[in-house]
């Protein structure tokens, strides 16, 4: 039902024989990686000791890495990597004495290590920022164009993941795939630009394994009836949700932002226009001048978010916005579950249909 959209991003290697892959021992792989980081900034999952959510727990988070051994291959990150191409806050314009100038950035080529779900999430970002309404967002575009993707494999489905249900479990849109093995690394090169870094190693057949079945498979309803908007199921979220917005900040496909002008106190001639991540779960997301507001109940905000992720976005673009990474479930301080919510919606849709028959 859900189509996975193709990224236009890498030049897929024409000669398939060369794509088969390589096996490298740790030293040789680190050598190749050293050559890569001369040309690229590398962002990958990294273990940050003691910074986890609970005591004595580490945080696995996206960060700059300088060695392959820094990369955490087998754990999901708490946040997604979206801040690389969509910073939490970013200057759009600089104003000085009535003159306005586009903000400049250092456009360093960046490699991000991503799982299949997160690679498919980038496609949703591309859709919003480069396609929606026929307008291209230049701030996004310039960062996005400097990004190359390396694929990480999932050894097993993580808790609350449901990528297979969302159709985001597979991808061939990556430049290089790297798997950590007992005595080294298995590598598959999909993008000619990276061939030059891997001159050593034994040829081998390297294919990434993708998750085929979710621990809890979900059915996504094709469409919903307007009566769902008034269903009592949303009341629980009104009670439970504290409108912290963590589900939005951790989500690899939440693209909303707000815009704010910042005045520099010491120099009233100067100001900056920033764009900042915005959350549809937090108060005032839709507040109008004159204080008229929409979705005052948190249950309505949950409904707004969830239906966008599984129904409304698909109506326009043909594929779902949720990639089933399960992060929103992991970060929620009130233990609200996206997967559970989708399940409930599907049950209501089935019951509705049966009632109508």
């Amino acid at each position: 039902m859900t189509k996975v959209h193709k990224l236009r991003e890498c030049k897929i290697y024409k000669d398939r024989a060369k794509m088969e892959g390589l096996k490298l021992n740790c030293d040789k792989a680190e050598g190749a990686f050293d050559r890569i980081i001369e040309d690229y900034k590398v962002v990958a999952p990294k273990r940050i000791a003691g910074k986890g959510r609970f005591s004595d727990m580490d945080l696995v988070s996206y960060d700059m890495v300088e060695s392959l051994s820094d990369i955490v291959f087998n754990d999901r990150t708490y946040f997604s990597a979206k801040s690389v191409f969509f910073p939490i806050r970013e200057t759009m314009f600089n104003y000085d004495k009535g003159c306005v100038e586009d903000a400049r950035i250092e456009e360093k080529l960046t490699i991000i290590f991503l799982r299949a779900c997160d690679i498919n999430a980038i496609n949703i970002f591309d859709t919003m920022f480069l396609k929606n309404g026929g307008y291209q967002d230049c701030y996004y575009k310039r960062r996005r164009e400097s990004v190359k993707i390396f694929l990480l494999e999932c050894p097993r489905p993580f808790a609350d993941c449901f990528c297979a249900s969302m159709g985001t479990n597979k991808t061939d849109n990556y430049s290089v795939f790297i798997r950590k093995e007992e005595n080294g690394y298995a590598i598959r090169i999909n993008d000619e630009a990276f061939m030059k870094y891997f001159s050593e190693g034994a040829k081998a057949k390297v294919e990434p394994h993708f998750i085929e079945d979710d621990l809890g498979a979900l059915n996504i309803p094709d469409s919903i009836d307007c009566s769902l908007f008034r269903n009592k199921m949303w009341e629980e979220y009104s009670q439970r949700c504290i409108a912290c917005g963590r589900c939005n900040t951790s989500c690899p496909t939440c693209t909303c932002f707000t815009v704010q002008d910042i005045t520099i106190e010491d120099n009233m001639q100067k100001s900056e226009r920033w764009r900042i991540w915005s959350s549809c779960q937090v108060k005032n997301f839709s507040l109008l001048a004159g204080d008229h507001d929409f979705r005052i109940l948190k249950g309505d905000r949950m409904r707004y978010k969830v239906l966008h992720k599984i129904i409304d976005f698909r109506k326009t673009f043909g594929f779902n916005m949720c990639v089933g990474c399960g992060r929103c479930d992991q970060v929620c301080p009130e233990y609200i579950g996206m997967a559970k919510c989708i399940k409930k919606i599907n049950e209501i849709c089935i019951a509705d249909r049966e009632e109508k028959l």
């Binding site: 693209t255 707000t258 764009r275 839709s286 008229h292 707004y304």
Partner: protein, 267 residues
Amino acid sequence: MMNNIYAGKAVKILGITKHTNMERSFTLDAHIHGMPGQFVMVSLSHAGEIPISISGFSSTSIEITVRNVGKVTSKLFQLKVGDKLHLRGPYGESFPLEAFDGQHLLIIAGGTGLAAVKPLLECCLDDDEYKPKKLNLLVGFKSPKHLLFKKELDHWQKKGEVIVTVDTTEGETEAWAGGIGFVVDFVKHVGGIGPETKVVLVGPPLMITNIVRELVHNNVREENIWTSFERHMKCGVGKCGHCRIRDKYVCLDGPVFNHVEAKSLID
């Protein structure tokens, strides 16, 4: 320089009309070929950027009408003729002018909503391309001192059937010749309403709900009603996400929606 969709063009303020303490119209030196119902993004550094509907066109300028209720508008109210602001647009879908040609058209507006339908009125009255066979305007304000576009209302009154109402005349010293009460109560005073009457409705959400009910009660078909939505917007180009309702972006797919579609757009 990048092709920046968020970059406005500096335009000069050519004139300012004070309607009330809270509402002013600004004539801007902008050559924008917009259509009635579209909006522009108005930007002032140190303050921000807001969507404002275009309240008038000429071949060399546009007019916007602003209610002073926020950070950007209060800064805008400090500006004088000759000052500059940044402008981009026009954005959004316009009113379907061709659907009104040769038809009975009823335009209903509440308060500042009149600004959004003013270009439509002017187009129907002064242009020859799209001519409704009968035009009614029903417009309501809080009180006589809240009236906008008094001069234009007089002009329109000479050319079409116009009902101006106020919610109350309490505390007014001057006599009020128009209607008193909510706009919805005056729908029945509009002559010739029937299934084929085309209605354009702009105002606060509650007013829209009540008037749609009254119109349907008067046999107006839902597909003959159009409304213009007001939503929080930060970009105007379908990126910021704030104005989204279901699969529609008010900035791209609206602000004008046919009621058949509008009623399925639950925020």
